[in-house]
């Protein structure tokens, strides 16, 4: 017997709840709007399970719905954001030496979030899925890319992170 919409949602909320919260933190800096986005993501995931036919894993399904909701949220509020969105290529070009040095996990997290907030949706999505420790095949299934293409993206993400965190040249 296939689990129903409510059962699927409750399992998913338990398993992916923390990941969904981290995801909204990456997409929305304002705490009130972030809370609203998190609720929207949960509502969308719950609604989507009505159509779930197990053609892909629950994980892929949840991440796809959540990222799509969050990307729509960013597009809707883009005018309110003062920051210009850039691509991974732009970040690869920037010089990390002039950046202020920070310390501790909190500062590192702030730096990480700052980096993600600058990225355009597809680049941010691959980076977030990489940070969630998903492998290239899983990221590819969520994004609609081949594992090979994802591996190239991950390689570039790692280079950017290395430069940002360790100040090493790419």
């Amino acid at each position: 017997v296939r689990p129903n919409q409510d059962e699927l949602y409750e399992d998913a909320a338990k398993t992916f709840g923390p990941a969904l919260e981290r995801l909204t933190r990456a997409y929305e800096a304002d705490p009130d709007k972030r809370q609203e986005l998190l609720h929207e993501v949960h509502i969308a995931v719950w609604r989507s399970f009505k159509r779930y036919e197990a053609r892909c894993s629950v994980r892929t399904w949840v991440y796809r719905v959540a990222h799509n909701v969050a990307a729509s949220h960013v597009a809707r509020h883009q005018r309110a954001r003062s920051r210009r969105l850039v691509s991974l290529e732009d970040l690869e070009m920037t010089d990390p030496l002039d950046q202020e040095r920070e310390t501790g996990d909190r500062m590192a997290l702030t730096r990480l979030l700052d980096l993600i907030h600058q990225l355009k949706a597809p680049d941010a999505q691959v980076m977030l899925l990489y940070l969630e420790d998903l492998d290239a095949a899983a990221i590819g299934e969520i994004m609609g890319l081949s594992p090979g293409a994802v591996r190239v993206q991950i390689h570039r993400i790692k280079a950017v992170l290395k430069r940002r965190f360790h100040g090493e040249p790419s």
Partner: protein
């Protein structure tokens, strides 16, 4: 003191950040979905109704009450702005719970944005024609009014054209990524 981030592991930092929410039950999320739907519907209906009412009142004032040129121009401009706001409210997309692959979803959103920006250029042309029709019979419109109107329209077109081109470029980049795959 210079902080040392050389040992920082971005993945573990990311996954170990403090999380505040407890998982919602299905009953809670169902209730939230109901409240969310009702709030969004009410906001849309109230927004559109107020806008239509404002336009109707504006038109009555414009056509039957005001006689001086400048106040009529100001009311005319206000009607146009409210019209644009109503259209924006009516086009506001609802909560999307699609499970499409993220890149394909993003490509479709960009395509829609590009198309909407192109359509909005036609809309502004229509609005300009509407303003021109309203003010044509008015006496004493200075020549610089037409210059200002023309400049404003040119600016609006430029902003929208730039937006459409930006969306187009982004779309090309996504298509390239999908094609190379």
């Amino acid at each position: 003191m210079t902080p040392d981030l050389s040992q920082a592991n971005p993945q573990s930092i990311w996954k170990n950040q403090p999380i505040g929410q407890r998982p919602m039950t299905a009953a809670e999320v169902r209730e939230r979905a109901r409240r969310y739907g009702r709030r969004k519907r009410t906001e849309a209906i109230v927004g559109i109704a107020l806008g239509v009412l404002a336009v109707a009142i504006g038109l009555v004032v414009e056509l039957f009450v005001l006689t001086a040129t400048m106040p009529r121009l100001i009311v005319g401009a206000a009607i146009v702005l409210v019209g644009v706001a109503i259209r924006r409210e009516a086009l506001q997309p609802g909560l999307n719970s699609t499970s499409a692959a993220c890149l394909e979803f993003y490509r479709k959103a960009l395509e829609l944005r590009r198309r909407q920006l192109a359509i909005s250029i036609d809309l502004w042309l229509g609005m300009a024609a509407f303003v021109a029709l309203l003010i044509r019979p008015l006496p004493g419109i200075p020549w610089y009014f037409y210059v200002m109107l023309g400049s404003l329209l040119a600016l609006l077109f430029a902003v929208r054209f730039r937006g459409a081109r930006k969306a187009s470029r982004e779309l090309d980049a996504v298509n390239e990524l999908l094609a190379a795959d």
